[in-house]
């Protein structure tokens, strides 16, 4: 399973690096994914102890 996956990744890498257009598209997809992760990740709330009294 791992061997097959590695082979598939290797094949994608080879194909992508052969064509500039594909490489650029690949970068764009990564950039868009990072943007979406940032935008849709809710900021963790900082906890604080607020003394009502």
């Amino acid at each position: 399973m791992i061997k097959q996956l590695s082979a598939a990744i290797e094949k994608i890498k080879e194909t992508v690096f052969k064509y500039t257009v594909l490489r650029v598209i690949c970068y764009l997809i990564i950039a868009l994914a990072l943007l979406l992760v940032f935008l849709y990740t809710e900021k963790a709330e900082i906890s604080f102890v607020y003394n009502e009294f």
Binding site: V24, L28, A31, L39, I46
Partner: protein, 405 residues
């Protein structure tokens, strides 16, 4: 090498275009703003900008910047309840929560550009904020907005001395927070870099600031987009919740005498387990059996010297700079309770006067001075938060302000 460079440049241009398109897509899919968002103090209004700017565009909206007192929605005279359904054409918009003090509001207002210019705004500060060090680091960090900070620091219309003061306070409070918790908040991001450079008054710092500007702008753009997404989600949730709910009639006039009678009747019911006129739950939780231990516990307390006064001054200066004419509510302490805990009338008067002196220096501010109501029963609902009669005075001021405008 040439091919690599070409791929790099194409990728960069592509990323810029792609991000711009994503941003435009988000902006064009924003649902219409809902007035009822004003009735609750959602965090998105404290740390974002979009919702406050949308509210400011509406003539009926009065934005109330406050802190923990905004939470007392169980009291019918609370402005969000009193004007619910746009009674008399007024819609309040609550911005703040317990722990939001002058510095947080100063950053929020400073970042709104000219959205609030000429708008109706109310400021409420709480007496307990005026401890020696002002806002505590954890309270500050919980409400601090990177988006607002970057926006105000990149705004050329804000004078340098205001930016320096704010960045100095941000550096101080972030540093103290990191020391206490062992974390590294805002050390390696745009906020950290900007704060570090802003505190350095040299030519190198100026040059660095120019070099870093695209990075600051990009960070701000990202935070703006995240604010839009959070606001969109909130608007959709509020719209879903309010579906099918009937809007109250707008009303034509307010009978203040009858409102007062109703408020007192409600207060009597909600405070029947104590003699101080405090909410039953509050009294049971915080005082009740501990009453004897509280005697003279505040005899060494002082609100005479506090960084909060400087923060208040900056907040009012920002309001003046932006052409905002705020109503400032000067909230009293609970007279009877303060006497019991040993926080004397002289000590209280010192705090009241300090605030009066600061507010008095700003002719654009109208002060609603409620400090004369210390001993008025049901004016507060606990030791420090406005209650039935106190909120009614605030409602009167809002109504008057709205009518005069």
């Amino acid at each position: 090498m040439k091919r690599l460079l070409a791929a790099g440049i194409s990728a960069l241009i592509g990323v810029v275009l792609l991000f711009a398109a994503a941003g435009e897509l988000i902006k064009h899919n924003m649902p219409p703003y809902l007035d009822s968002i004003g009735d609750d103090n959602y965090i998105e209004k404290i740390t974002g900008l979009y919702l406050v700017e949308q509210s400011a565009k509406r003539d009926s909206n009065i934005i109330i910047y406050g802190s923990s007192e905004l939470r007392t929605l169980n009291i019918s005279t609370h402005p969000a309840n009193f004007f619910r359904g746009q009674r008399n054409g007024i819609q309040v918009n609550l911005v703040g929560r317990g722990s939001c003090q002058s510095l947080i509001h100063a950053i929020n207002i400073a970042a709104t550009g000219d959205a609030l210019t000429g708008k109706k705004v109310m400021l409420i500060t709480s007496p307990q904020s005026y401890v020696r060090d002002g806002i505590a680091p954890d309270l500050f960090m919980a409400n601090f907005s990177e988006q607002q900070y970057l926006t105000l620091m990149l705004d050329d219309s804000i004078p340098d001395h205001i930016k320096q003061y704010i960045s100095g306070r941000v550096a101080e409070l972030t540093g103290r927070y990191n020391d206490i918790t062992g974390s590294s908040m805002h050390k390696y991001d745009a906020v950290g870099a900007m704060t570090e450079i802003a505190s350095n008054n040299s030519l190198t710092a100026d040059v660095l600031n120019i070099i870093m500007r695209p990075y600051y702008r990009f960070s701000k753009w990202l935070f703006d987009l995240r604010d839009l997404i959070a606001s969109k989600k909130l608007i959709e949730n509020v719209a879903e919740k309010s579906q099918g709910m009937q809007k109250a009639g707008s009303g034509t006039g307010i009978d203040w005498e009858s409102e007062l009678r109703a408020a007192v009747a409600e207060a009597e019911k909600m405070t029947d387990n104590n003699e101080f006129g405090m909410l039953n739950d509050y009294y049971t939780t915080y005082i009740g059996r501990k009453l004897n231990q509280q005697k003279n516990k505040d005899k060494d307390l002082s609100y005479s010297v506090s960084k909060e006064y400087d923060d208040l001054e900056i907040l009012l200066e920002i309001c003046k700079l932006k052409g905002i004419e705020p109503l400032f509510v000067h909230v009293p302490l609970h007279g009877e309770w303060s006497d019991y805990t040993g926080f004397t009338k002289e000590q209280r008067e010192q705090y009241y006067q300090n605030v009066r002196d600061i507010v008095g220096r700003y002719e654009n501010v109208t002060m609603i001075d409620l400090t004369g109501y210390e001993y008025e029963k049901y004016f507060l609902c606990d030791v420090m938060h406005l209650g039935w009669k106190g909120w009614l005075e605030v409602d009167k001021a809002i109504e008057r302000c709205y009518r005069e405008n």
